[in-house]
C-alpha cells in the first residue's frame, strides 16, 4: 500500500510537463505535500518507538525486480529533516520565482519543478535504499536534479559552467562510492550497506572507510573536498541553495553515519581522522567565510563550517565508541545529529532571507547594501534570527547542539588519558574559536548589509518582499525557537535514535540527567527573554517622561555626509584579514601614486580572495590534463595516408608486443 502510493507519486511527477502553466506550481505543491505526508507518517511510526524498522517494497504488477525502501530510525530522522526544509523551501519558491514568469518559457518551469520534486524524492530514496546499485542510482539522480535546479538561470554562461563543474565533481564522488561498493561486493558477493558489516568484520577497515569518506565527503563539503560548494550555492536560486545547503549536503553525513554503523575495528583512528578533518573544515570554513563579500558565498562557506561542527560531533562519538566512553559517544553523535537538523533550519532560513534581499536589491554584494533594516524590516528580522542561531547563541537552537558536543567533551575529559585529553582540549579550543569567528562574520554580514545608510542605489531602492516569501520563513523561525526553548523534547528522541542505531545499551542512565540540564537551560532562556521584555517595557515608559530628540550620528563631528564614508565589509574584516593573510591568499589590484604625480588621477582598488584548495586541487590539474588531451588529439589530419598509417602502426605495435610477450 505505502509502496504503491510512493510509486504513484513518482509516476504522477511526470505529468508536471503536461499540466497547464498556471497550475504547474500548485500541482507540484500537491505532489510534494503528498510525499511529505506519506513519509512523515512512516518516520513518525518509527520515532514513536512502536517499530524498529519498516520495509516498503516498491513493486509494479508486472515487474519482478522490486526496489525495497528500508526505513530505520536514522533514516526516519533524516526524513524529518528533509521534509521540513524541502516543503518550506517550495512554499518560499512561489514568491521567489514570480519575477521570472515573464522571462522564461513554460518548459523551463516544468524542468525546474520536476527536478525539485525529484531532488526531494531522490533524497528520500537515498536515505531509504540499502541496496548498493539502487542507492547509487538515487544518489546520482539527486546530483542530476540539483544540477538542473542550479542552472535555472542558465542564460548566464558562468552559471552554466559552474553548474557543470558541480555535476562533474558530484560524478567523481559517485565513482569513489561506486568503487567502495564494488570492493565490498568483490569480498562478500553482495553489495549494499547491509553487506558492509561482514566486510568490515574480516578486512581492514581504514581503506574502505577512506574511500567512502571521500565519496560522501565531496557531497558533504569537508575541506579540502568542498570546492564545488562555494561556487554552486551562489549560482543557484535561493530556495534551491537553501535546500541544497540545508539538506542535500547532509546526505553525505547520512552516508558517513550509515557506513560508521557497520565499522568494526580501527574506530579510534577513524574517529581521530574525522575529528581532525572536521576541525579543519570548521575553522578554515568560517575563516574563509569572513572575507567573502558575496552574501550567498559567505553563507556557503558557513555551510562548510557547520559541516565541520557536525563532523566534530561524529568524530567525538566514534572516539567515545572506541574508548567505551558512552557519555562521549552519545553526546557527540547526538550533538552531531541535532546539528544536522538545526543547521538545515537556520541555514535555509538565512538563504531564504538572503534571497529576499537579492530579489529586492538585485545584488548579492554586501558592499552595495546597507540600511535595509528600515527598507525591509521583516527580512532583516528573519536574517537576524538566523545569524544568532548560526552563531550558536542561546536561546536559539544552534546553542543546543553545540552545548551537547561541548558537554560530551567536558564530561569525558577527566576520564580520558593524556593524548585523548589533549585532543579534546584542542577540539574545545577549535570549537570556541569557530564560535568567535562566526560571531565576527555575522556581525559583519548583518551589520553591513542591514544597518547604517544605504551604500548604493541598489539598497536605497529596495522594497520589502511579499508576504508569500516571508511567511514560510516564520515557520522555520518557529521551529528554531521550539528547539531552542523546548530542547528537552527534541533531544530525548535524538538520544534514543543514537542509542538504538549504534547499539548503546546503557543509554538511559547516561542521558537521564541531561534532560534536566536542558530544562535548566530552557528556564534560563525564558528568564532572559522575560528580562529583556521587562527592561524594554520599563525603558519605554521611562523614555515617555524624558524628551527624546533625533539628530545626525555624532561620532566626533561625523555628520553622515555621504554613505560612502561608512565602514565597509572590507574595512571591518581588515584587521582580521591582516592576520589570516597567508591562508586566504588575499590579492590587491591597485597602482601606487608615483612620486611626480602632483595631482593624482582616478584610482581603482580591487581586493579579492580565491580559494587556495580549489586552485590547487581542481583548477590546476584539470587544466593541465585537458590541455594534454587537446595536444594528443591531432590524429584527424584529414589526410588518408595518415589514416592508413594508424592502422599500419597499430598492427605492427600489436605484433611487436606479441613477439615481446608483453600481451
Amino acid at each position: 500500500m505505502n509502496g504503491s502510493l510512493f510509486l504513484a507519486i513518482i509516476f504522477l511527477s511526470l505529468l508536471v510537463f503536461f499540466v497547464p502553466r498556471s497550475l504547474k506550481y500548485s500541482y507540484s505543491l500537491f505532489l510534494l505535500a503528498g510525499a511529505v505526508a506519506l513519509t512523515s507518517v512512516w518516520s513518525y511510526r518509527l520515532l514513536s518507538g512502536s517499530v524498529q524498522i519498516i520495509d516498503i517494497p516498491l513493486n509494479l504488477p508486472f515487474i519482478q525486480n522490486s526496489f525495497i525502501l528500508t526505513v530505520d530510525r536514522l533514516s526516519a530522522f533524516f526524513i524529518i529533516v528533509i521534509n521540513i526544509t524541502v516543503f518550506i523551501g517550495f512554499l518560499y519558491a512561489r514568491g521567489y520565482l514570480e519575477p521570472y514568469y515573464r522571462s522564461k518559457n513554460a518548459l523551463r518551469f516544468s524542468i525546474h519543478y520536476f527536478s525539485y520534486i525529484w531532488l526531494y524524492l531522490s533524497m528520500l530514496m537515498v536515505v531509504m535504499f540499502r541496496d548498493g546499485l539502487s542507492f547509487l542510482i538515487a544518489w546520482e539522480i539527486m546530483a542530476l536534479s540539483s544540477f538542473f535546479l542550479v542552472i535555472f538561470d542558465a542564460e548566464d554562461r558562468t552559471i552554466l559552467k559552474t553548474g557543470i563543474s558541480y555535476l562533474i565533481q558530484m560524478h567523481v564522488g559517485m565513482f569513489f562510492i561506486l568503487i567502495a561498493f564494488l570492493l565490498v561486493e568483490k569480498a562478500t558477493g553482495q553489495m549494499g550497506f547491509d553487506a558492509l558489516g561482514s566486510y568490515f568484520s574480516n578486512h581492514s577497515n581504514i581503506p574502505l572507510f577512506i574511500l567512502f569518506f571521500i565519496g560522501f565527503g565531496i557531497k558533504a563539503g569537508f575541506i579540502p573536498l568542498h570546492t564545488w560548494l562555494p561556487e554552486a550555492h551562489p549560482a543557484a536560486p535561493s530556495h534551491v541553495s537553501g535546500i541544497m545547503s540545508g539538506v542535500m549536503i547532509k546526505m553525505g553525513i547520512y552516508g558517513i553515519l550509515r557506513v560508521l554503523i557497520s565499522v568494526q575495528s580501527d574506530l579510534l583512528l577513524i574517529g581521530i581522522i574525522i575529528l581532525i578533518i572536521s576541525l579543519l573544515s570548521g575553522v578554515l570554513g568560517v575563516m574563509m567565510a569572513i572575507v567573502q563579500h558575496d552574501l550567498k558565498r559567505l553563507l556557503a562557506y558557513h555551510s562548510i563550517e557547520n559541516i565541520g561542527i557536525i563532523g566534530i560531533g561524529i568524530g567525538l562519538g566514534m572516539i567515545g565508541l572506541a574508548t567505551g566512553n558512552t557519555a562521549l559517544a552519545i553526546l557527540g553523535l547526538a550533538g552531531g545529529l541535532l546539528h544536522v537538523l538545526n543547521h538545515s533550519l537556520f541555514k535555509s532560513l538565512l538563504f531564504f532571507s538572503a534571497g529576499s534581499v537579492y530579489q529586492a536589491t538585485h545584488t548579492r554584494n554586501i558592499e552595495h547594501l546597507g540600511g535595509l533594516m528600515k527598507k525591509m524590516p521583516y527580512t532583516a528580522f528573519l536574517f537576524l534570527i538566523g545569524s544568532l542561531a548560526i552563531c550558536g547563541l542561546p536561546p536559539f537552537n544552534g546553542f543546543i547542539s553545540e552545548y551537547l558536543i561541548y558537554m560530551g567533551m567536558f564530561k569525558s575529559l577527566s576520564a580520558a588519558n593524556l593524548y585523548q585529553s589533549m585532543l579534546i582540549l584542542g577540539t574545545i579550543v577549535g570549537l570556541s574559536l569557530i564560535g568567535g569567528l562566526a560571531i565576527f562574520c555575522f556581525t559583519k554580514a548583518f551589520g553591513i548589509a542591514f544597518l547604517g545608510e544605504p551604500r548604493s542605489e541598489h539598497a536605497s531602492g529596495a522594497k520589502e518582499v511579499g508576504k508569500n516569501m516571508n511567511f514560510p520563513q516564520y515557520i522555520t523561525v518557529a521551529f528554531i525557537m521550539l528547539i531552542g526553548l523546548g530542547s528537552g523534547f527534541v533531544v530525548k528522541p535524538v538520544f534514543s535514535i543514537v542509542a538504538q542505531t549504534f547499539r548503546l545499551p546503557d543509554a538511559v542512565l547516561t542521558t537521564g540527567p541531561f534532560i534536566t540540564n536542558l530544562s535548566q537551560i530552557s528556564i534560563l532562556a525564558g528568564i532572559f527573554i522575560i528580562t529583556v521584555t521587562v527592561l524594554l517595557v520599563y525603558r519605554h515608559y521611562h523614555l515617555k517622561g524624558k524628551q527624546v530628540e533625533t539628530g545626525p550620528t555624532w561620532a566626533c563631528g561625523y555628520t553622515a555626509g555621504t554613505s560612502r564614508q561608512q565602514y565597509t565589509a572590507t574595512s571591518y574584516a581588515y584587521n582580521y584579514n591582516h592576520i589570516a593573510k597567508p591562508l586566504l591568499q588575499g590579492k590587491k589590484i591597485m597602482e601606487d601614486i608615483r612620486e611626480d604625480e602632483i595631482f593624482p588621477g582616478k584610482r581603482t582598488f580591487i581586493s579579492h580572495n580565491d580559494d587556495i584548495f580549489k586552485k590547487l586541487l581542481i583548477d590546476k590539474p584539470t587544466d593541465w590534463f585537458s590541455g594534454l588531451l587537446k595536444k594528443l588529439a591531432v590524429m584527424q589530419t584529414g589526410q588518408i595516408q595518415h589514416y592508413i598509417l594508424y592502422a599500419f602502426v597499430f598492427i605492427l605495435l600489436v605484433l611487436l608486443l606479441t613477439i615481446l610477450n608483453i600481451i
Partner: protein, 204 residues
C-alpha cells in the same frame, strides 16, 4: 617455375618503390596482373577447370588489361604524370622496402606452416607491406589507389596460397576487384581530380 614468377613479382614491387612516374606504375600493375595469372595457372592444378578458367580470365582481363587501361585514361584526362611524394626521397623508400622484405621473410619463417609454401607467405607479406608503404608515403590519391591495388594483389596471392584447399576463398578475394571498380568509377563518376592532394576539408 612458380617460384621464378614469384621472385619476379617481388622485383616488380621493388620497382614500385623506386619509380616516380605514374605510367611506370601502371605498367607494373599490368605486369603484376600477368604474373598473378601465371601463378594461378601453375599453382591451382587441383581445382576444377571451370573455376580455374574463371580465375585466369579474371586476372587476365581485369587485372592485366582493364585496370591499366582505365588508369591511363584517368591520367590522360588529368594530364598528371609524375608523383610527388610526401617528404620521402625514393632512396629512403627503397631502404624501407628492403627492410620490409627482411621483416616479411622473418615473419614467414615464424609463421611456417605445413600447408603453405613459405615463399608465398614471405612475398605476400612483402606485397602487403609495400602497398601500405606506398599509400602512407604518397600524397596523390591516385597513388593511394595504386597502393590499394598492390594490397589487393597481396590478398590475391594469399588466397592463391591456399587456393587448392578452398577455391571459394579466391572467388571471394576477386570480389575485392569490385571495390577497385568502385574506386575507379569514383574518378569518373565523382569527377575526382587525381592530382588533388588536399582532400582535407574534414579534419578535427
Amino acid at each position: 617455375m612458380v617460384n621464378y614468377l614469384i621472385v619476379f613479382f617481388a622485383v616488380t614491387l621493388m620497382y614500385f618503390s623506386s619509380a616516380d612516374r605514374l605510367t611506370t606504375y601502371i605498367k607494373l600493375i599490368g605486369i603484376q596482373g600477368l604474373l598473378l595469372c601465371g601463378i594461378a595457372i601453375f599453382e591451382l592444378n587441383e581445382v576444377n577447370t571451370a573455376n580455374l578458367l574463371f580465375i585466369v580470365s579474371e586476372t587476365l582481363i581485369f587485372k592485366t588489361i582493364m585496370l591499366p587501361y582505365l588508369l591511363t585514361r584517368i591520367i590522360q584526362r588529368s594530364g598528371v604524370t609524375k608523383v610527388h611524394r610526401l617528404a620521402m626521397p625514393g632512396f629512403n623508400l627503397l631502404l624501407f622496402s628492403i627492410f620490409g622484405l627482411l621483416i616479411s621473410v622473418i615473419l614467414a619463417k615464424i609463421l611456417i606452416n605445413p600447408f603453405i609454401n613459405t615463399i608465398y607467405l614471405a612475398i605476400a607479406l612483402f606485397t602487403l607491406f609495400t602497398g601500405m608503404l606506398l599509400i602512407v608515403t604518397h600524397k596523390l590519391i591516385i597513388s593511394h589507389l595504386i597502393g590499394f591495388l598492390i594490397i589487393e594483389n597481396a590478398v590475391f596471392m594469399f588466397s592463391l596460397a591456399i587456393g587448392n584447399e578452398m577455391p571459394m576463398m579466391i572467388n571471394i578475394g576477386i570480389l575485392l576487384d569490385i571495390f577497385v571498380g568502385v574506386l575507379i568509377l569514383g574518378f569518373f563518376g565523382l569527377r575526382l581530380k587525381p592530382h588533388t592532394n588536399e582532400l582535407t576539408m574534414l579534419k578535427d
